[in-house]
Amino acid sequence: MHVSLRSGVYADSVKLMQVSKAVGARDGVVAVLVAMATPLNLELAAGMGLAPDPGAKPDQLLIALRAVDDAELAAAVTAVEAALTAREERGSADAIPPRTVGFALGEQQETPLAVVSVPGPYAVAEAMDAVGAGRSVLVFSDGVPVEHEVALKRAAHEAGVLVMGPDCGTAIVSGVALGFANVVRPGPVGLVAASGTGAQQVSCLLDMAGVGVSHVLGVGGRDLSAAVGGLATLDALRMLDADTATERVLLVSKPPAPAVAEEVGRTAAGLATPFSSAALSADSPDLTAGVEALLQAMGVDVPAWPTRPGTDREVPAGAVLKGFYSGGTLADEAMLVAAPGLGDVRSNTPLRPELDLGSDFGTSGHVVVDFGDDALTVGRAHPMIDPTLRLEAIAGLAASGEPAVLLLDVVLGHGADPDPAGALAPAVRDLPFPVVVALVGTEGDPQGWSRQADALAAAGAHVFASNSAATRFAVDLIGAQK
């Protein structure tokens, strides 16, 4: 047992409780109390059978120990000394990272944009943080219920900010690409895009014609549906109208709901900035034609869109069109372009409900599959990043022996597969039927349009910068065979 009192030593009670705890944790120590000799602590010591001699004063430090043997006791006293004089770590906390968009924007008052790519069920809460803070937000996440999209976009409209998305994969803001977007030159055309790959096709063709874009504002694939009513499209049109860098506004979309298209048309007519639309429909099935019309209106020569000739494989008798797409709008465009020549095309994203092929992609006849459809990307990466599903489908088609012309899209740019031709070329090189590729990209893209085009052409594919041109080429091959 060791009981001592020291004068002239003061440590606060928390420090002393820490010392007691540290020393008490030693194996050989049975009981320990290191404390100022206040009446309360003297009572505690007495309760532990470690009372000091009478006459202890509250300004004295009481060290009371019991150990299994003298050696342990001496070691414990030394440990008390060491613990009493130990220095603590000092300094400041590392910055605590923000855990919500709301807090981050509170700290970053000058930041005009949030990008949300958290799982769909949580995306609206993060996006609303941005809207509530008066900032725009790009929601990459999909799986957001349409009623939540409407509520989010209404709130954004009230707040004077833009919601891009949900399920918005493509945007360019002041030259910075967000998500899947291509390296295109800056210029006067502002795009409002309810379609990611549509916007990529249009911006790439403009770039090839020497015309740049000011911004590409994605609004999400559902924005022009009857349920959403073009809420973000209308806001984006007004924002681009007010933007000094934007001299022309072009709308890119899958087929919009007719009433919404009318509403957009009315708003567009009121803009000071010239407006045109490349929204797809049965009457205007062609994004490339939309670009060409814009170029003509701007007085810019329409170039010959780049192509690479492939191998002239014989078109098998009774060949059907097999379009295996990664871009939803490009798939829609292919069906719209092909339908007049081929008749009905069945799809997982059909033009009419009765053409739905369900989940059987091996079904015979004219088929266009959108492998980027939400139903196929649950739990896996988008086919623009992960080619697995499409490669399996190509192998399945080859194995089936069905006579076909294979039509593919390959989308380059930020976010996409760094070398899509590297994966596709081996898969198409030995196919016994023609392969046609719509290659959407620019020379400035990390993958380089020409490098990818050359690699695909070397594997036998006919390569087109324009998806509608690629589709017509494929349809013509089938038609010529007939």
């Binding site: 820490q18 906390a93 968009v101 981050a104 944009l113 690409a177």
Partner: protein, 467 residues
């Protein structure tokens, strides 16, 4: 803010590839360290995020907190100021029964029966309470807060705090000091004797002193000052207690009472590091009571524990308690007490954290983190985290080491759920066995379940209101 003017800076939540691609293009990116919420369903959190009432309701709620001021206007028996009559005892935390009361709560209730003369022996007191002979209710239901067991009986003298702007009041009993005290569940003769002395001698002297002051003591001001002097106002009240003693002493010595009694009162106050706590708590209570019910607000108005359950209330759901079994604090122990001696979390004193001080201002009182072997950076980090679960910074309560940043104030249930960070509470620890008294002090958090229930109820209210 114009999205289209100039190169964009971005706040990014979600997959890293986005941030990496943006950085590669030279954009300024702030990453959110997002993680799936573990509290509340995605549907409920989305419902609350989209509730158009929420932002303004929370602003109204927290501004009421910040506008509240507290002055010490009187000291008087509970029977007079909160109408506590008959055999009624108040206790801390959400409502409870004798059957569900923990050891220290039972000890304190028994001690109060002995003090009031409703029973002559601890056994008789226990029988009386077990037979339902005493009505029990939460302090919080009576504009009152009490530390630890918070047991308040009709004869106990109360601090009376008044908001000078609207005359609202809040109350707390007088602090008994440390060790074997009623609020820690002790009920021995020395406890009862001290309570009688506080009632017979100290209460009347304090009443005369407080009433004789030319101006009521600005308790909000004392709380603000002590944060700049190493206190956080919950587990460390040294500077606040000394300032209170300094403020009251001239009036106390001027009271017409025996010299020995005056000296004993001064000695008692001077010897109690937590004397101020019972003034700080009703100050915080005044501020939180100012909120009332604010439909659509997700701000917490009460955090309180009764030794068995932790309970929270919110502005959007008013008087409704959301309760779950209380956690047991982690910390340092007196003498050879250990974790097995500690009772689960107890006391209304978490009103300090509800108000934004205490554990929320850990950075102002680095001495406190050592209770759990923490470091000064831990203290700073704790307060930094609390900023992420609160609505506002309180300009009146400043943390010097954070550049005099205001205290993180107004706990937002939704932010707690989305960050997964629970409020940090600094607390004393009572012995598990009735009669033991204090065994230590440390840190504790509310059970997540309280916040899960609150999220669900707020979302349900939101759906009903917006339907």
């Amino acid at each position: 803010m114009n999205l289209l003017s100039g190169p964009p800076a971005v706040v990014a939540a979600g997959v890293d590839v986005f941030s990496d691609a943006l950085r590669a293009q030279g954009a300024a990116v702030t990453d959110v360290e997002w993680r799936p919420p573990t509290i509340g369903s995605a549907d409920d959190l989305t419902q609350l995020a989209l509730d158009p009432r929420r932002a303004s309701a929370n602003r109204v709620a927290v501004e009421r907190v910040l506008a509240s001021r507290s002055t010490l206007t009187d000291v008087a028996p509970a029977s007079e100021v909160i109408g506590l009559t008959g055999r009624t005892l108040l206790h801390s935390g959400p409502p409870l029964s004798w059957e569900t009361a923990s050891g220290p709560m039972r000890g304190a209730l028994m001690g109060a029966c002995l003090f009031e003369g409703w029973a002559d022996t601890p056994e008789a007191a226990e029988q009386l309470l077990a037979a339902g002979g005493v009505e029990l209710d939460s302090c919080h239901h009576h504009r009152t807060v009490g530390p630890m067991a918070g047991v308040t009986s009709p004869s106990m003298w109360m601090w009376c705090l008044t908001d000078p702007t609207d005359g609202r009041q809040a109350f707390s009993n007088l602090n008994e000091g440390l060790g074997k005290v009623l609020r820690m569940g002790a009920y021995g003769p020395e406890v009862i004797t001290r309570l009688h002395w506080m009632t017979d001698v100290m209460g009347p002297i304090l009443q005369a002193a407080v009433r004789s002051r030319p101006e009521p003591l600005d308790v909000t001001g004392v709380l603000a000052q002590m944060l700049q002097m190493g206190d956080e106002g919950h587990n460390r009240n040294r500077a606040g207690s000394l300032m209170t003693l300094r403020e009251l002493s001239p009036s106390i010595v001027a009271v017409d009472a025996p010299k020995d009694d005056v000296a004993e009162v001064l000695r008692f106050i001077g010897g109690n590091e937590h004397f101020f706590l019972n003034l700080g708590m009703p100050t915080a209570k005044l501020a939180m009571d100012a909120v009332g019910e604010v439909p659509g607000s997700t701000m917490v108005t009460t955090l309180a524990r009764n030794g068995t359950e932790f309970g929270i209330r919110t502005a959007g759901t008013g008087d409704r308690w959301f309760t779950a079994p209380a956690n047991t604090p982690v910390g340092l122990f007196l003498g050879d007490y250990g974790p097995e001696d500690a009772n689960p979390d107890i006391g209304d004193s978490a009103i300090m954290e509800t108000y934004g001080v205490g554990g929320f201002c850990m950075a102002a009182a680095p001495a406190i983190v050592r209770f759990v072997g923490g470091t000064v950076p831990d203290a700073l980090a704790t307060t930094e985290r609390m900023y992420q679960i609160t609505l506002q910074e309180n300009p009146a309560m400043q943390v010097p080491i954070l550049g005099f940043r205001g205290a993180p104030t107004g706990i937002d249930v939704v932010s707690v759920a989305r960050t997964g960070w629970l409020p940090q509470i600094n607390t004393g620890m009572a012995g598990r066995v009735a009669g033991t008294g204090q065994v230590g002090a440390g840190l504790v958090q509310p059970p997540a379940s309280c916040f899960e229930q609150a999220v669900a109820a707020l979302a349900e209210e939101s759906r009903a209101a917006l339907a």
